[in-house]
């Protein structure tokens, strides 16, 4: 019984480090040590719970130990695919982990901290990522489709080829983040905060970007096709080669929508300018570049 409890505890402790050479070995050595320590404490008259708590205290900080093992086995740092599908991982510390092609599908990942992590190629399909921190995280080639990212933080995040389609980002914040070739189809970005970000070849098709402040940010080849942008502002923004296609709908919904964007002080290239003009956007204070 206690062996099982300790085993579960160790499995959870090592979970953020993924799979690496020597993992099972170190876990089994620790387990045998902890078992022995536990029974010594029990023999001294401690109750089960106290003995368990005292036992796990003797483990110490495993981060350095894992680093040591990875160094000595010359294994590529946590490089094997990790499978976290359908798991409850909320409140987990994933800071600075390198987990390429990890799978976090259909999982509860609320309140996790991915600061400084390299998650290249990982998938987060249909998971709950509310209040997660992705500051300085590398999300290259990551698929985050149909996930909840409400109140998540993306400061200095690398978003190259990142697919975040059909996800929710209510009150999420993006600061100094770089969107490059990112796909953001049908995303709900209402009340999201964008500050000092750059957008290159990003596709926002069918997204809800109502009321968002894109002031002073740079947009290169960004697609806002059939996007709702009413009330959003692009003050002093740089907009080059972007499309705001309204489609061939009978309703003038998307046309009217374009009239409610504030482009005050923006710098817009000629083609994009003419596009916006044909939709009746107010471009009176725009500089053509």
């Amino acid at each position: 019984m206690i062996n099982e409890n300790l085993k579960v505890y160790l499995n959870n402790l090592f979970k953020p480090y993924g799979i690496f050479n020597g993992l099972e070995e170190i876990k089994s050595e620790l387990l045998s040590d902890l078992n022995e320590h536990y029974y010594e404490l029990k023999a001294r008259g401690l109750d089960d719970e106290t003995a368990f708590q005292e036992t796990i205290k003797t483990i110490g900080d495993i981060q350095q130990m894992v680093d040591e093992i990875l160094e000595t086995t010359q294994d590529t740092y946590r490089s094997l695919p990790h499978n976290f599908n359908g798991t409850d991982m909320k409140n987990t510390d994933f800071r600075n982990v390198k987990a390429h092609h990890a799978k976090f599908n259909g999982s509860d990942i609320k309140n996790c901290d991915f600061t400084g992590a390299d998650l290249t190629g990982s998938t987060f399909h249909a998971s709950d990522l509310t209040r997660c921190i992705f500051d300085k995280t590398n999300l290259t080639d990551v698929k985050m489709s149909a996930v909840s990212l409400n109140k998540s933080s993306f400061v200095n995040t690398i978003l190259t080829n990142t697919n975040m389609s059909t996800s929710e980002f209510k009150a999420a914040k993006f600061i100094y983040s770089q969107f490059f070739n990112s796909i953001m189809h049908m995303t709900d970005l209402r009340k999201a905060i964008f500050n000092q970000c750059t957008f290159t070849n990003v596709d926002f098709k069918y997204s809800d970007l109502r009321g968002i402040c894109f002031d002073q940010q740079t947009f290169n080849g960004v697609k806002f096709d059939k996007v709702v942008l009413a009330g959003s502002t692009f003050k002093n923004a740089i907009i080059k080669g972007c499309s705001f296609d309204c489609g061939h709908t009978f309703s003038k919904k998307y046309y009217r929508d374009k009239q409610k964007i504030n482009f005050d002080g923006a710098f817009i290239d000629k083609i994009t300018f003419l596009y916006l003009k044909s939709y009746g956007s107010d471009l009176s204070n725009v500089t053509i570049i």
Binding site: S28, S32, D33, E36, T58, I59, G60, M65, T72
Partner: protein, 109 residues
Amino acid sequence: MYKKNISSDLLRGHVDTMILRLLSEGDKYGYEIVKCINKNSNSQYELKEATMYSAVRRLKNDDEIDWYWGDETQGGRRKYYKITEKGKNTYIINKNNWQYAKDILDKLL
């Protein structure tokens, strides 16, 4: 508490040598190493499992120690650690270095 943390930082730099010393007195498995350090320091220094296994992995990688499976009949088999000739030399060198540094520090601190 504060004092204890400072001293444990100082001590941590010598964990490898502590383990070499223990193993020079006889082969031991992981938990025995932790227990002996605790006992020999009159419980003044508690070596954590993770710190011990970091050191053990490092020592093994540098061929200072080796390991073999014990022949326990009951329960799981244990991994015993054993000092190598190289490890014995390293222990003597480290111990001399410490003595040398200690003499200087005693004069200076």
